[in-house]
């Protein structure tokens, strides 16, 4: 690949455009020829069904064999997964009992003793205290407000079920991630194994591995938690590897010079020095776990996710919004708390007092609060369970709002929808569907060769081929079409906003807050208002995808323009560039690689969201995965999931190769 790139580079310097222009023209002509004379080679236009490799059945058979007959010697594979489930059940039950359901202790036949769960007052007070410790009085108020919302709007019971699974899943994910990260950091061979798996796991849609998890762990909260951990751990692994690598050489050398053993070096030098980046990983795990709440409820997690999903299915918009907002509120609270701890200076005690109370003041206060409020709760019912008559619900208000919009603006909304469908969506979809598969595979390979040489060409080409060979070509094309249009729209909206925010300080601050909030929202939440206004179909899916994937387009554009060395901007000014010239001739060209990386992120997020929009009735790969989930068809789900991942990987590799090259040309890499 290097040799080829170099050769291309040299050639490219002499006569850059013509050669590739000719090649691409030829490729397009060949494609057109294939289409026009499709009677000659019909197999090259539509992939023949007889050639389909029955991969999905092989996968299903393998899963069946794994569960029914795979024997690890001392125990079977099934026993193995069941014992993991049993292990996870314990902490989950405990957290659930503490926060949500209370404990029922029974001795013999009659004697039964019920310990109630923590009261809302106790939990809220402790959380406020944690908020205060993490980020001072402002964060304490924010977090307190968030939890009071849950209380007042009657979301408490469900929120505590959700929270109890989060507080167990997150530590497990973090510890697992750190250990895998250490492994990858210490051994190059392990790293070479781990990185591609991470790449795959972060691009395969979640739905795809819900099915095998369902198979191995059964339906219920434990399975949901396993899926959550699988989904939320990869970024922790990445952060751990990255942060350990980033520890300055000098610090590691210092450790060696004072005679640290390997273990001391890791735990006393490297891990503590890597702490800031590790904390970013923890934050990621929390956010992804919350993002998973709704999806996990498909395989048995209760709580807020279940509420959202069931109201979405019954089109009870108001209830859905309330539960959705509750998830968001929970996410904001946990996100800010973890960020607060991440940004806080290290928490080593400067002088260690001897008494427990002085040494752990926060723990002591928290224990005190729990005891006092619990006692108070046994005497005053309202302090334990928030009285129902004081609760507020906005459900009917939302329902009224939707009906009002639909009554008054139905025609306008419908007109926009129809126009876009007829003039943009459907033509693009038709066009992509008639493209000969062979030509598309060829062109994907060609793009790979142009940007990264033979190895990339082989990689992208064979991933594209996989979609045809496994019989998912048509659905893949629908995914590409929905994703492509959404990405273009997101870019058209996001890039100008990013440019504006990069050039205006006040706008920048507002945009930052909005983008931060958008990224805290779980993906499902975007579906609710869209379904309210546009009902189901491709158009609704597109709107939801655009809304979800907008943030990185804005963020990367903003960042790309801001990171341009000031000397370049000054040089532009010195030559007398107008503001417009500055933008088009200096800032945008230099920021382009960064903006393209943002677009890359947009594509990744769009694909992730696309699968979820299967719920509003698309007919792409996402639907395929979703159907597989409802039918518990492992093979079908995994193969379609792989197709989604491969679309993501193809675009990721191509764009990264391009951006890398451009950055090198600019000397920014």
């Amino acid at each position: 690949m290097d040799a080829a790139t170099v050769a291309d580079g040299v050639r490219g310097q002499r006569r850059p455009i013509p050669i590739w222009l000719v090649i691409w023209a030829v490729a397009l002509l060949l494609t057109a020829a294939l289409y026009l004379f499709q009677q000659l080679w019909p197999w090259a236009v539509t992939y023949p069904e007889a050639w389909t490799v029955p991969l999905r059945f092989w996968v299903s058979d393998f899963m069946k064999w794994l569960i029914n007959s795979f024997d690890l010697g001392l125990f079977t594979f099934k026993e193995f997964t069941r014992s993991i489930a049993w292990l996870l059940q314990w902490p989950l039950d405990f957290a659930g009992g503490l926060l949500a359901s209370g404990f029922k202790l029974a001795w013999g036949e009659e004697a039964e003793w019920f310990i109630p769960r923590l009261s809302w007052l106790a939990v809220t007070a402790v959380v406020i205290l944690i908020g205060y410790q993490s980020g001072g009085i402002r964060l304490a108020l924010l977090v307190g407000g968030c939890f009071l919302y849950l209380v007042i709007f009657g979301q408490w019971d469900s929120a505590m079920v959700t929270l109890s699974s989060i507080v167990i899943a997150v530590p497990i994910g973090v510890v697992l991630g750190v250990f895998i990260g250490i492994l990858g950091f210490r051994s190059r061979r392990a790293e070479r194994l781990i990185v591609p798996i991470l790449d795959l796991m972060q691009t395969v849609p979640v739905f795809a591995y819900l099915v095998p998890v369902l198979f191995l762990f059964g339906f219920g909260p434990v399975a949901a938690m396993v899926a959550t951990i699988i989904y939320a751990t990869p970024p922790m692994v990445r952060c751990a590897m990255l942060s350990l690598k980033q520890v300055p050489t000098e610090i590691v050398e210092f450790g060696q010079m004072v005679g640290c053993s390997r273990r001391q070096l890791l735990w006393k030098i490297q891990i503590p020095s890597a702490r800031p980046t590790l904390m970013v990983g923890v934050n990621q795990v929390i956010m992804l776990s919350l993002n998973m709440v709704i999806i996990a409820s498909m395989i048995g997690a209760g709580g807020l996710g279940f509420d959202v999903l069931s109201s979405l299915k019954r089109l009870r918009i108001g209830e859905g919004i309330e539960a959705g907002v509750a998830i968001t509120v929970l996410a904001i609270a946990l996100d800010r708390i973890s960020q607060g701890f991440a940004n806080r200076p290290p928490s080593e005690q400067r002088d260690r007092p001897d008494s427990f109370i002085a040494r752990y003041p926060y723990t002591t206060i928290a224990l005190g609060i729990v005891i006092i409020t619990s006692l108070a709760g046994t005497f005053i019912e309202g302090l334990h369970t928030f009285p129902e008559r004081l609760q507020v619900t906005t459900g009917t208000w939302w329902n009224d709002l939707v009906s009002w919009i639909n009554i008054n603006f139905f025609d306008e909304l419908e007109a926009i929808k129809t126009w876009l469908l007829l003039n943009v969506l459907i033509p693009v979809k038709r066009f992509l569907l008639v493209l000969p598969w062979l030509a598309v595979v060829g062109m994907v390979g060609l793009a790979g060769y142009q940007l990264g040489g033979w190895r990339l060409a082989l990689f992208t080409g064979s991933l594209a081929l996989f979609m045809a060979v496994t019989g998912n070509w048509e659905k893949s094309m629908i995914s590409v079409y929905l994703c492509g249009i959404s990405v273009i729209i997101a870019a058209l909206i996001g890039i100008p906003i990013g440019i504006y925010s990069a050039r205006h300080e006040r706008a920048h601050r507002v945009v930052q807050v909005v983008v931060d909030t958008l990224q805290t929202l779980p993906s499902f939440v975007y579906l609710i208002p869209v379904v309210m206004l546009f009902r189901v179909g491709d158009f609704s899916a597109m709107i939801a995808v655009v809304a979800y994937a907008l943030a990185p387009a804005i963020r990367y554009t903003d960042h790309g323009i801001r990171q341009i060395p000031p000397s370049l901007v000054e040089a532009g000014k010195a030559f007398g560039c107008s503001r417009r010239q500055m933008l088009w001739k200096v800032q945008l060209p230099i920021a382009l690689p960064e903006i393209m990386l943002g677009i890359n992120q947009v594509i990744m997020m769009a694909l992730a969201m696309l699968v979820i929009t299967a719920l509003v009735g698309t007919r792409d790969l996402g639907q395929e995965v979703y159907i597989a989930l409802t039918k518990a068809d492992t093979g079908r789900g995994i193969v379609a999931g792989l197709c989604v991942a491969f679309i993501a990987m193809i675009s990721d590799r191509l764009i990264s190769a391009w951006a890398q090259r451009k950055k090198k040309e600019f000397g920014l890499a």
Partner: protein, 343 residues
């Protein structure tokens, strides 16, 4: 300054470090006689080529070279932070390169100290715990290691800052912590890798004085890396000059100025004011006439100029035992000051 009967603390013998594939085989094949050309053809980079020198007990030995000259690699080979390709590093009659992992850890814990260019302080520990850290690794109990750390913090003038975190300190203060930390275990050999290069010029000068003050108290055997020739001259007993992995000359500051081995060395010494280099002993005349007052033979001209120039007659030069060994005229000192003398 140097006296041959002083004992050797650490020494390098035919020490090589080549970066690249099959460096070891290459070196055995060529049996130590390697040209820059043949290295290049083998695709190897010679970071340290055939280094031979010894560092005496209580001496400040400075390795001077520009960036890329291999000086940092050399000091890392001496402590085995980097595994040398070939050669020997003798430390207290033991070849460090043959030491087992376990022995090496033991030597580093008790006998070596190192100061780093960018301080390498642990960000999550306070000054006190940073300084106590090497003792913690040794397994010293909390009370005694904190006691010892407090003593050293006081020695480097940071008392009152024990509970600060590194980020709350200035660069100069951070390096004081680095120095204190490296001294906590009372090392026998003290490595300093460009300790003052990351500091502002004014602070650098202050730290150099501080370093000399500490050395007057402690008399450590020191290997000091720098790219700053002025710094080398100020601090060194002896200087080794490195270029492209080779040590091209070793000598006292005076020797380097008087007899530069190559044009490269001469280039460094050209701009250095002679008054900073020469001591009274180097330019004195035999003791013949009347003298008024006396100066020590090892005093630099820079420091005695005012006394001699203002004196009405020649000044006597005495050795460390107080015996008169020569005398110094105004004329001789003025010649050095205006740059006429080549001594």
């Amino acid at each position: 300054m140097e006296s041959p009967e002083r004992s050797v603390k650490i020494s390098c013998h035919d020490l090589w470090k080549l970066f690249g594939d099959n460096a070891k085989e290459y070196l055995t094949e060529h049996n130590g006689s390697v040209s820059a050309q043949s290295l290049k053809e083998a695709g190897l980079i010679g970071a340290v080529c055939d280094a031979n020198f010894e560092v005496f007990e209580g001496e400040i030995f400075i390795i001077m070279g520009l960036s890329g000259s291999g000086k940092s690699t050399l000091v890392r080979c001496m402590s085995r932070l980097i595994e040398p390709t070939a050669g020997k590093v003798m430390f207290e009659n033991q070849d460090l390169l043959k030491a087992s992992e376990h022995e090496l850890i033991d030597i580093r814990r008790h006998k070596m100290g190192m100061v780093f260019q960018h301080f390498a302080l642990l960000p999550h520990l306070t000054v006190l715990h940073n300084v106590a850290f090497p003792l913690e690794i040794q397994g010293v109990d909390r009370a005694s290691r904190e006691q010892r750390a407090r003593e050293i913090i006081e020695l480097v003038g940071l008392e009152g800052r024990e509970n600060y975190y590194p980020r709350e300190l200035s660069g100069g203060q951070q390096q004081r912590v680095g120095i204190a930390r490296s001294l906590a275990v009372e090392p026998d050999i003290w490595f300093l890798d460009e300790p003052f290069s990351a500091l502002d010029p004014l602070i650098r000068r202050e730290m150099q004085d501080e370093f000399l003050r500490l050395q007057n108290l402690l008399h450590k055997s020191i290997v000091f890396i720098t790219h700053d020739f002025d710094e080398a001259i100020r601090l060194a007993d002896r200087i080794a000059i490195m270029q492209d992995g080779h040590i091209i000359q070793i000598g006292s500051p005076e020797q380097l100025v008087l007899e530069p081995a190559t044009d490269y060395v001469a280039e460094f010494t050209r701009e250095i004011p002679r008054a900073k280099i020469f001591s009274a002993g180097a330019i004195m005349a035999p003791p013949t006439g009347n003298t008024l007052g006396k100066v020590s033979a090892s005093t630099k001209i820079e420091d005695l100029a005012e006394t001699v120039v203002n004196s009405k007659s020649d000044v006597a030069v005495v050795d460390s035992d107080g015996r008169t060994v020569g005398q110094l005229s105004r004329r001789a000192v003025l010649d050095v000051l205006v740059g006429k003398s080549t001594a």
